[in-house]
Symmetry: C2
Subunit: 307 residues, 2 copies
């Protein structure tokens, strides 16, 4: 099994995780969460998003979160934006990593933003240029890359077209996002292999949801395709708007544990990360879906007796 | 990604699932569970175990369960036994598939049965012969094959030795069991590849726990090694005696969903299986960890509006 030696993880718990759960959390607690993740060794933390606060009131304090954190050298604080206005707010808040999202599904994109895929992409061109001119790292994301709950399967040609557009715009990185947990490992291996063959020098990242339990199997396929950058959410925090009882993003500790078992470096202190997850669970008063935070890593041998 | 075309699944919910949870369930409900699984297309169901009822009172009615089910042609009803006495009881109850378990970990085996690995194996030799003479399908299982909570890693040479012994005894099938959820995909691929290279004609099966979230990733590795028989538990029913909040066996519906996404046949009706899982959840009054029973399969497109 040929796998990369090192992987970079972005924790999206403070954004993708928190935005899909109903429990309120204070700005101070969000700041503590972002700082705790960076202290555990996460090289990237998605601290918030700059979107319409009427649509996404949970993220209305993203500026305050970014302003309130004590930054750690070497850590990038990512902000999500969906248009030029979002980028301006992210810039004002001092985000040094901008994630811009387009959905490959025309139906989902139009439901989400009342704009076509082509219209959204056209509006992003000057944003990428402006952000890069400010020294901000720009990631172009292709959502519903592995399937759409409205349209079903998305032709890989449409995904490759959008990747090409991000590359043409000059994005530093392109990510493929499984927005509603529809990816399977064969599809991940095939699509990532095609992208990597066509753009071998491109920084490619993957964003999986564990909605149907396939999250880490999809990461394994991504690793086999040579992809070295993944999103994940502390404690498995989050959910799925399409399935009230289903889980959201893949869990960061479970991902780190798998990678360490496979001998892949992450730079993350798993024990400290589990402490952050446990603190978060207590703070939210909500059981989280992470498994390693409950079972401990496999190298933690059993201390009690009996079997 | 080279994968098998067809996979056989044994649902171990009525045994491995139920034995690790505290909630009581009537014999009638167990019978209904076994029948429901067979009706959903499971070719094998582990209906119970014949072990010391003082140690495992949850399984004391296994004889009554096997006696009470209306059997479906083509389905095998598996019983677990740990010694000759267990085999005699399984035989009396009419089990047509016997699973005998030895633990590769000397420490764990001795804690479990007050006997050495060699002693347990020696006692199994006449049991395999007797059971096969009765036309019973015999599966020899090697537990803690991917790690032991007491001893940590288990040398692969010890696993291969035990596989060889089962083969020498004439077992119809040999399974490698990840008793406490310590396997990782690279290890699965390596060990299964070695077993299959040495015994190409052997029916090899895998039993994974999802204790640390790695269950389906390990199945993916098993598939890549060419293994076509897997255990799983309906609804993800079960737990881990070593970690109270952790999950148990991999979930049957989530496994079936992954396999169907990969184009692999199982003979199982996923929708009907999810109905069994939902009935079980309601009957036990216990939330189950299965994901597809909550989110639905990926091909079930979203019917509501909004995003």
């Amino acid at each position: 099994m040929h796998l990369p030696k090192k992987v970079t993880i972005c924790d999206v718990g403070p954004r993708d995780g928190l935005q899909t759960i109903c429990t309120a959390i204070t700005t101070a607690a969000k700041i503590k969460l972002v700082e705790g993740l960076a202290a555990a060794g996460l090289a990237r933390v998605e601290a918030g998003s700059f979107v319409n606060p009427r649509v996404m009131p949970q993220m209305a304090d993203s500026g305050a979160v970014l302003a309130g954190i004590i930054r750690r050298p070497g850590v990038r604080y990512r902000a999500l934006a969906l248009n030029a206005r979002g980028w301006e707010q992210a810039q004002a808040a001092g985000a040094d990593h901008l994630c811009l999202v387009v959905l490959a599904s025309e139906t989902f994109q139009q439901k989400n933003a009342r704009s076509t895929v082509a219209g959204v992409m056209a509006a992003y061109a000057p944003v990428v240029t402006a952000a890069r001119a400010q020294g901000v790292y720009v990631q172009g994301s292709v959502g519903t890359a592995f399937g759409c709950p409205y349209e079903g399967a998305i032709a890989s040609g449409r995904i490759l077209d959008l990747v090409r557009q991000w590359v043409d715009y000059g994005a530093d990185e392109v990510s493929l996002a499984d927005t509603t947990g529809m990816a399977d490992p064969r599809q991940v291996l095939d699509l990532c292999t095609r992208v990597r063959e066509r753009w071998p020098a491109l920084a490619l990242s993957l964003h999986f949801h564990n909605t149907r339990g396939l999250g880490l199997a999809n990461v394994l396929a991504g690793l086999q395709a040579g992809v070295t950058i993944y999103d994940a959410s502390v404690g498995g925090l989050g959910g799925c708007p399409f399935a009230p009882r289903a889980s959201g993003n893949i869990c960061t500790e479970d991902l780190v544990h798998m990678l360490h078992c496979l001998g892949i470096e992450t730079g993350i202190d798993l024990e400290q990360l589990c402490q952050v997850a446990s603190w978060l669970e207590a703070t939210l008063g909500l059981p989280l879906s992470g498994q390693v935070m409950k079972a401990g890593p496999r190298w933690q041998t059993h201390r009690g007796g009996g079997a």
